[in-house]
Amino acid sequence: MSPHGHDAHKATAYITEQDLPERPLATVPSDVIKTASWRTFLPVIHLEACTKCYVCWKFCPDVAIGIDEAGWPVVRLDYCKGCGICAEECKPRAIDMVKE
């Protein structure tokens, strides 16, 4: 487990026992946690080479590639961990991993 995950709970306002639910029932969506700081390389998509095959979207382990209204893939920068799978799997090589 990455130490980054340890700060997740701080995204909410549970401070004292009285704020907590009686049962240990978690209800806050994990996307309050930003994982951008895990990244050293950033995927940059060159749309001129993109064929909209969505392989990058399909294989992203962090659900960090969205598809905009025009159908272009977009990297959700708050969540991308920079694993490089999208760039590696993109057949037309439309994605570069660039050091941040």
Partner: protein
């Protein structure tokens, strides 16, 4: 706009705590894409306990019930019984466990669930070791692989024993359905998941789940390594329905196992002779699988 080849709906959220490039996330993502919003996931101790993010956050849009490491099969049966008793017929109960939690410590509970015919899906994501506790060997670790408890040094050559054949153990229970799936083949993966929705009774998916830190390869190679596992026949894709075997991805000619092994640090110590031995073991298993398929 080109069409998506797998469902667009996401039930796994961003922000989770998996290592970069982790395939266990894709296993969950694809399973839930196939099952939809009625899934309830029960999760034993495993990487996903942590990936799912700490209290009070949760990485899924469907409920998760944590259960004891060794008891996933029982948790599945309890949820199914409760859903039936409470009139929640649409609920799809999913047990989601690692290979250690399934093939080793949880084998009894899995056997119980399969034998008593619980109508549910059990998914074993197979990263071939106890990863959450720091890469110790499991019964599903393959022959020759380095782990922290099967070291490579003057006296040890990685794991000295072969991989436990979990599918054969499952098949011996004659479940309603069982299949192997691989994150490198999402369309095939989704077909298997969607098929489980049409079948009543116990269903089992053995999901191949490459792990960059545990297998010692760079994270961008997860899909490539997954593909190689199947293309070398190391991890063939097949299903067992009503006792009948069917290979769901057949290759003209398999690639040499060496390509798969050499892509991973955990096998980097292997000599040509050791690789040849693994190749013949893989060939033997493939021949048996072909024979099983012909049995019909």
């Amino acid at each position: 706009m080109a069409r998506l080849t797998i469902p667009a709906e996401e039930y796994m959220r961003s922000g989770h705590s998996a290592c970069p490039g982790c395939a266990a996330t894709l296993v969950m993502r694809y399973v839930l894409k196939g099952l939809g919003p009625n899934a309830i996931v029960t999760l034993p101790a495993c990487c996903w306990t942590v990936i799912g993010t700490p209290f009070p956050t949760t990485a899924l849009n469907v409920p998760i019930l944590d259960c004891a490491f060794e008891a996933t099969g029982a948790s599945v049966s309890g949820l199914r019984a409760a859903a039936d008793a409470l009139g929640l017929a649409d609920v799809i109960v999913v047990g989601f466990a690692g290979d250690g939690g399934t093939a080793d410590i949880g084998l009894q509970a899995l056997s119980g669930m399969l034998e008593r015919g619980t109508d549910a899906l059990y998914v074993m994501y197979d990263n071939e070791a106890y990863m959450n506790t720091g890469v110790q060997r499991s019964g599903a670790t393959p022959l020759g692989a380095w782990t922290t408890t099967t070291p490579v040094d003057a006296t040890s050559r990685g794991k000295g024993e072969g991989k436990k054949d979990v599918m054969a153990i499952v098949a011996a229970h004659r479940p309603a359905y069982a299949a192997t799936v691989n994150v490198a083949f999402p369309e095939d993966f989704l077909k298997r998941v969607e098929k489980t929705k049409t079948i009543r009774g116990p269903k089992f998916l053995h999901a191949f789940s490459p792990c960059p830190p545990g297998w010692r390869y760079p994270p961008e190679k997860t899909i490539a390594i997954g593909r190689l596992a199947t293309d070398t026949n190391s991890f063939p894709l097949y299903e067992i329905e009503g006792g009948k075997y069917r290979i769901t991805r057949k290759l003209g000619r398999a690639r040499p196992v060496a390509e798969y092994l050499k892509a991973q640090g955990r096998f980097s110590h292997l000599t040509d002779a050791e690789i040849a031995a693994i190749q013949s073991e893989v060939d033997g298993r493939w021949a048996r699988l072909l024979a099983l398929e012909t049995l019909g």
